[in-house]
């Protein structure tokens, strides 16, 4: 060994410049996901904060579950479902770190199955709101509005107004085209419409007292509800009025419905987006294409899913309990 080599062996190490590392010590993909989650925090805080402000600013709020059709058991079950899915997705991430890709795929499949359960329960809840017409812009908030809404729904159930409009339109056209060709065809259509209007007579006559009473506010809500019940039991035309809702006002019901559907709707949309991400991972897993380079992707999907869980953790008490 040469002398020069010995000198190097005993010399103190040269001060090396530290490796230049820009940014934060995490993978770029993960940093991107956290930045995205930052915008999501702002988005959902705005929605939830607006709900709290609107509720504090209202002189009342519908809280009776028989009126709002908010079911604590449904919200609680969905909380349990999302918490369980959060465990599954973090176990998938752990399995990825241990290079057990089959197990990771299975955990992601289980997570996706729970996402379907969540959406199923949510669909059941939405159906309840739809069935009782607790939708933004649909809720009557005073007795007068409830009676007006009843009259409108009766008209829609009878279907007379649309036919009358069509009749007027056709009659005007027939008049305008007198002496020209093609009038016979129009007259046939007009006769057909008039025949259909005549067929509606039994329903029109059966509903007339209730419809007029509601439209001109000559009856009380209790009387209207009783008359509607009897109309629905009418063996000849009752079937036609099944879709008409019992008239009852829900004060602040429109604001309630707006914030309920905005918050839970955007949350459900995030659940669907998470399911699409999981579908890609499941496809890679089933095709035996998952590898070490997918660890960050699975972790990012997990972070997103935990955020979806976090949002629900706050929505559950705010919507279902308070």
């Amino acid at each position: 060994m040469s002398h020069a080599t010995d000198v190097h062996a005993h010399a103190p190490p040269l001060p090396h410049a530290p490796a230049l590392k820009m940014g934060v010590p995490i993978p770029n993909g993960k940093l991107g996901m956290w930045l995205f989650l930052g915008t999501e925090i702002m988005f959902f805080t705005a929605l939830i904060g607006t709900y709290i402000v609107l509720r504090l600013g209202s002189k009342g709020w519908p809280t009776n579950p028989d009126i709002t059709h908010i079911r604590v058991w449904a919200g609680g079950t969905n909380t349990f479902v999302l918490i369980t899915s959060s465990v599954f997705v973090v176990l998938a991430h752990e399995a990825m770190a241990l290079r057990n890709y089959r197990r990771a795929t299975n955990w992601i499949i289980a997570t996706t199955a729970l996402a379907f359960v969540f959406l199923g329960i949510k669909a059941y809840e939405y159906y309840g709101k739809y069935d009782h017409d607790i939708l933004p812009h649909h809720v009557a908030e005073s007795s007068e509005q409830a009676l007006s809404k009843l009259a409108v729904e009766l008209d829609a159930a009878i279907g007379l107004i649309a036919l009358q409009q069509e009749e007027t339109h056709l009659a005007n056209e027939v008049l305008a085209k007198q002496g020209q060709g093609g009038v016979e065809s129009l007259e046939k259509q007009l006769a057909s419409v008039r025949a259909n209007i005549a067929k509606l007579n039994p329903a029109v006559e059966a509903a007339r007292p209730l419809r007029d009473g509601a439209k001109y506010r000559q009856i009380s809500l209790a009387e209207a509800a009783e008359q509607l019940r009897r109309l629905k039991e009418n063996p000849d035309v009752g079937r036609q009025f099944r879709s008409v809702h019992e008239p009852h006002p829900i004060k602040w019901g429109n604001t309630f419905a707006s914030v309920y559907f905005t918050m839970t709707g955007f949350h459900a949309l995030h659940v669907v987006i998470g399911m699409i991400m999981f579908a890609v991972i499941i496809w890679l897993g089933l095709a035996n294409k998952l590898g070490p380079h997918h660890e960050v992707a699975v972790e990012n999907c997990g972070l997103y899913w935990h955020f979806v869980d976090l949002v629900w953790i706050f929505l559950f008490p705010l919507i279902y309990i308070i």
């Binding site: 934060v24 010590p25 995490i26 956290w34 930052g38 915008t39 925090i41 702002m42 805080t45 705005a46 904060g49 607006t50 709290i52 402000v53 609107l54 504090l56 600013g57 002189k59 009342g60 519908p62 009776n64 009126i67 604590v72 609680g76 349990f80 918490i83 959060s86 465990v87 973090v90 991430h93 752990e94 770190a97 908030e141 005073s142 007795s143 007068e144 409830a146 506010r217 009380s220 809500l221 209790a222 009852h248 006002p249 829900i250 004060k251 602040w252 660890e295 972790e299 997990g302 972070l303 935990h306 869980d309 976090l310 953790i313 706050f314 559950f316 008490p317 279902y320 309990i321 308070i322």
Partner: protein, 141 residues
């Protein structure tokens, strides 16, 4: 890193990127218990002050969120970058509620909407006032 309840010692059992192995099922049980507590608070608090029940269930929600963020999202084991990233977000997130509160959340003026005018008419009738009787007869929902 000192060992904490629910955590296995770091080393050969350390998880991805050096996270200590967490007993995720313990966290899950804690979250289930807290969810059940929320429902119990709702049942026990039936007919009591909504503000107190609200504060209790929101405090429980904060604990649940903390568990999810610390252990499932591994924020407990991340570096200080998490504060740099999340602190501005949380401050900005308060902007809309803060902007809305003075006008919509707290009223310094009387406002007339169908709900309040009908309540006023019902109150008027209840105190021996004249018509509109229909408004008085309307069921309070």
């Amino acid at each position: 890193m000192s060992q904490e309840p629910g955590l296995a010692p770091a080393g050969e059992h350390a998880g991805y990127h050096g996270y200590p192995r967490v007993n995720y099922w313990s966290v899950f049980y804690a979250l289930c218990v807290l969810t059940a507590l929320s429902v119990v608070a709702d049942l026990v608090g039936e007919g009591r002050s909504k503000i107190i029940i609200g504060l209790i269930v929101l405090a429980i929600a904060c604990f649940k969120a903390m568990f999810v963020m610390l252990y499932f999202m591994h924020l407990k084991f991340e570096g200080k970058w998490k504060f740099v990233l999340l602190a501005p977000t949380i401050i900005l997130a308060m902007a809309i509620p803060a902007a809305l509160m003075p006008d919509i959340g707290s009223h310094y003026y009387d406002y007339e909407v169908p709900q309040t005018t009908e309540s006023a008419a019902a109150e008027h009738d209840a105190h021996g006032g004249g018509s509109p009787g229909e408004a008085a007869a309307a069921p309070e929902h």
